[in-house]
């Protein structure tokens, strides 16, 4: 078994805060280079849009399903393999849907962060 080198993970903020506490000097305020700020602003906007879409779908699932089950008590009588459909809708259905939502959101979030390509160059 090869031994991997490990390093202690202390949060940089904790380190800064501790340093500040010791010396009494506040931590340096954060700053960004103009190019980075521009790129960050663009990513922030896109990621926010992606996040809001996926959260909207999640809300539709989690708020809509109970509403549907209350509005349609007949689903208790419909059975699939002997199990009431309304039970399946709570006990089984949400999990694959959640996994798919997670996968989709991950894909889109990672695509947003891909390095910028020069205009006109395609993958």
């Amino acid at each position: 078994m090869t031994r991997q080198r490990r390093i202690a993970v202390t949060s940089p903020q904790t380190r800064l805060a501790l340093a500040g506490r010791r010396t009494g000097v506040p931590a340096v305020p954060p700053h960004l280079a103009p190019a980075d700020a521009e790129r960050a602003r663009r990513i922030h906007r896109r990621q926010l849009r992606h996040a809001l879409t996926v959260l909207g779908l999640l809300a539709a699932l989690l708020l809509g399903l109970p509403l549907l089950l209350v509005a349609a008590p007949g689903l208790d009588e419909v059975r699939l393999g002997g199990i009431p459909v309304s039970w399946l809708a709570v006990a089984v259905l949400p999990y694959p849907v959640l996994a798919l939502l997670a996968r989709w959101q991950l894909r889109r979030a990672e695509r947003t962060e891909r390095p910028d390509r020069p205009p006109g160059v395609r993958e």
Binding site: R3, Q4, R5, R6, I7, A8, V9, T10, S11, P12, Q13, T14, P26, A27, P29, P30, H31, L32, A33, D36, A37, R39, A40, R41, I43, H44, Q47, H50, V54, L55, L58, L62, L63, P66, L69, V70, P73, D76, R79, G82, P84, S86, W87, A89, V90, V92, P94, Y95, P96, L98, A99, L101, A102, R103, Q105, L106, A109, E110, E113, P115
Partner: protein, 566 residues
Amino acid sequence: MILAIVPVLLITLLIGARGVAAMRTTSDFLVASRRISPTVNAAAVSGEYLSAASFLGVAGLVVKDGVGSLWYPVGFAAGYIVMLALVAAPLRRTGALTVPDFAEARLGSRRLRRLSAVVVLVIAFLYLVPQFTAAGQVLAVVSGSPYWVGVVIAGAAVSITLSLGGMRAATYVQAFQFALKLVLFIVPAIWLVLQVGPVVRADALEPVEFTRFPVATPVEFRLDTELTITAPTHAAIAGHPQQLLTPGRYAAEGGTTWVFDAGAPVPQVGTGRPPGGEEWARPVLDPGGYPVLATWSMLVATVLGTMGLPHILVRFHTSADGRGARRTAAITVGLLGVFYLFPAIYGLLGAVLLPELYLSGGTDTVVVALPATVDQSWVGTMFTALLTAGAFAAFLATSLGLLLVVSGALAHDLVPGTLRRLRFTPIAAALVVVLLALRAERIDVGVLVTSAFAVAASTFCPLLVLGIWWPRLTARGAIVGMVVGLISSAGVIGVDLILGAPPGLPAIVLGQPALWSVPLAFATMVLVSLRGTPPAWAAAAMLRLHLDENRSGSAATDDFCPPRSS
């Protein structure tokens, strides 16, 4: 039967020792390897997350409250989607290990940091007490000892494990714990389904209200319970010969066993509904006539509260970078989804085979009580032992994680101290939790855990979401919003627990406040922030959280992405 937990302790300690050995040089508990793959890390997150509430509480709530309780695990798993979409990657990039760290990094306020540490304590204690309660109940069931013995043993086990060296330090331990819990939960479930036979299987899917005892049934009341008997009932009370009880109210003393005769009508307990009834079988939470509101409120709490659980956030820091943290969150959704397919099996079988647990107040023990009911031979005993081990693994993983977070908040943020004190605080905190748990026997594990989620959703969720996505958030706005959120969640739940709310709408509004307390906290934070001006560097402080680490030609992220060791 207590011997079942010994292998769990030994194996976790062993893996812990192997994993920790390489890191012994670091002085802090808060250490990790940087080169953990997202899958292993996701298993570790799941291992830390699957507490006694998931392992025992959900099935118990199904027996007690009905099929609608299966919404709890849906909320528990869906929380990671919100985590993935809004929090995981940016939070990892701040380098903040805890919410107090994040508060200071993003808003530069010492006061906010201390307030966050207080909230960490509130959440952790709300989460810890039911873990100990569950451990105490399980040990009481499998060994027949009184409840307090179980709680004290659980406290001792945690303290010993902690003093032997913070086993949780290794991600591998938690990943192993997840695999262990998954196997120990799924294998007995499949065995149970095969073993019970077609009649019970059909009964589980077509529940009949539990109105008469089918056979002579001993009910061991763990707590003082008031029974309402509506029809003449044959029962033998506490070892006395059988007698005919006339309709009326009876007080069953805690610790006594009543043997109800075959065919005797089932007495009523409180306002609860006996398992199997029509209301019980409806797949929504319905404590008092407002099923949609009650279900939504629980879902809002669990889904938005996940991101505020302090012991989970620390785990995300083990990822190499923001991208890894995001992948971890996404994989966690899948892993939890597999586990949460199974509590339903225990709950539905329990409602058919052990409905009397609803009378005795022991529904949280249904998972460990089932194998012995199905099979009296050594096989049943073996599966009881396996499930006990799994429940104890769940209890240990979550409790240790939370106790370390508590001691971190105390020693690091509230009472600055040395490492020596950090080593001692978890044990002191464990002692406090044991004392609280001794008094909390009556409370459902799943319900108290959900109130921890409600507090997290009303305080840390707005702080994290607005802090990460809204540059205009001010420290003042965050402080006022958190205080409002804390009062409207923890304060209101506390009032509800102590005074008791009238059933119906007030019970939902007070007992499960997330549906209104979360929007209130968000609104307060936004409005107070809009009245002030954020410092000039606020926009940069927010934007840098969204900058991925892997782009070329930048020096600005040196602080936030330390070079990987190789």
